[in-house]
């Protein structure tokens, strides 16, 4: 585990003003993975923008954790479909 890749949850909540309970709940609902080492809990730096996004949706729109899970999956599916559509368009261009 490289120090540059993972950050302590306690540091993150302190800096972001997002409650630790929220991050804990995201973990319980399988929306964010924790990395545990020497009794400290870390999160992947790459997950930070996702946590912030889920927090905004929860805070701004009052969406519960089940709803966040659904939105996360739907957005991932949408992005996959966009990428697939992009690839198909490029494939089509080979025949132009």
């Amino acid at each position: 585990m490289g120090n540059e890749k993972y950050i302590l949850v306690s540091h993150f909540v302190e800096r972001s003003n997002i409650e630790v309970d929220f991050v804990q709940s995201l973990h319980e609902y399988g929306l964010v993975a924790f990395e545990e080492r020497e009794n400290e809990i870390f999160i992947d730096e790459g997950d930070i923008s996702e946590i912030e996004r889920l927090f905004r949706l929860h805070h701004d729109l009052g969406i519960n954790y089940e709803g966040l899970d659904v939105i996360k999956q739907m957005l991932e599916r949408m992005h996959r479909m966009e990428r697939e559509m992009d690839l198909l368009q490029k494939r089509l261009r080979l025949y132009e």
């Binding site: 905004r56 701004d60 729109l61 490029k90 080979l94």
Partner: protein, 309 residues
């Protein structure tokens, strides 16, 4: 600067109750929230508009002022003078602009992102509207993400490219990994807009536009091209020279090769994105060219050949 009809923005009547306003705002916010509409600038703009409308209409005091003076916002100065005179006289109703702080529920927008109309009526900057405080929580928000497009030639993607780009007054030195694709977006953390309430800066997203300056067609890291071969080479086999991105290579054509046969030159495609030393393949489709303007002798020979079958 035009008058903004906040009721119209929230699609409600002027007689709407606080519950109606909350309901209308929540409904539109769910529809237009930027996190649910990534890369949709229209949705983001509308989201700002409904936030502004909600900011005013959900606050009874602001709503009262808006209802009373909204359409006459141009005369705000006159109202302000009148208000000050009334206050000096020991009473009256608090008017526009400075001196008074309002709290807000902290949506993800800076007050500077509100319209000029809002600023004119309710003040901006150090004036009438401030985020945070009061009973509602203050949240740090990441700054706005910014988008930029960078054009490169396909041949520029063969190696890592060092480029300097200007974003406003900032110059950013970038190393663009070889094999970057058309339409691909990379994120540069912390080069977007300023954060709010001490939140982190937004990110800069650079989308690449790759202009194909070669005769090859590209699909991910693979390249595609067509190569004409003569009828005789197709029938009897032979050796041809084909172009690749890093020069010409000799290729053996098998006897009795059919039209549209596809051959693969392994590793002669583009470098794979962020996979050092790995390359895509080059696919060559043979197009057999038929001889034209046959001589008498050729016609006779072809006739003889046809009789052998």
């Amino acid at each position: 600067m035009d008058f903004i009809d906040y009721y119209k923005t929230l699609e409600i009547d002027k007689s709407a109750s606080q519950a109606d306003i909350k309901k209308a705002y929540r409904k539109l916010a769910r529809k237009l929230h930027p996190d649910l509409n990534p890369n949709d600038k229209t949705a983001q703009h509308k989201f700002q508009q409904i936030n502004e409308a909600n900011e005013v209409l959900s606050d009874p005091e602001k709503r009262k002022k808006y209802d009373q003076y909204g359409k006459d916002w141009q005369h705000a100065d006159a109202f302000e003078q009148s208000r000050q005179q009334q206050q000096q006289a020991g009473g009256g109703f608090g008017g526009f602009g400075g001196g008074r702080s309002y709290t807000s529920g902290g949506q993800g927008f800076d007050d500077s992102q509100f319209s000029d109309f809002f600023e004119s009526m309710f003040g901006g900057g150090g004036g009438g509207f401030r985020q945070g405080g009061g009973q509602r929580r203050t949240t740090q928000f990441k700054g706005q993400d910014m988008n930029a497009t960078l054009r490169l030639n396909l041949t520029d993607t063969l190696k890592n490219q060092k480029q300097t780009i200007s974003i406003g007054e900032k110059k950013i030195r970038l190393t663009i990994p070889a094999g970057v694709e058309d339409g691909q977006t990379i994120r540069i953390k912390g080069y977007g807009g300023e954060g709010m309430n001490g939140g982190p800066k937004g990110d800069l997203f650079i989308t690449f536009e790759i202009l194909n300056d070669t005769s090859f067609k590209r699909l991910e890291s693979d390249l595609y091209t067509q190569q004409e071969i003569s009828l005789y080479t197709a029938l009897l086999g032979g050796e041809i020279t084909v172009d690749t991105l890093d020069g010409k290579v000799k290729l053996k054509v098998k006897p009795e090769t059919q039209n549209d046969t596809k051959v693969k030159l392994k590793g002669k495609g583009l470098p794979k994105y962020k996979k050092d030393g790995q390359y895509g393949d080059l696919y060559i489709t043979y197009k057999i060219t038929m001889p034209t303007k046959l001589s008498k002798e050729e016609k006779e020979l072809f006739t003889q050949l046809s009789k052998l079958r």
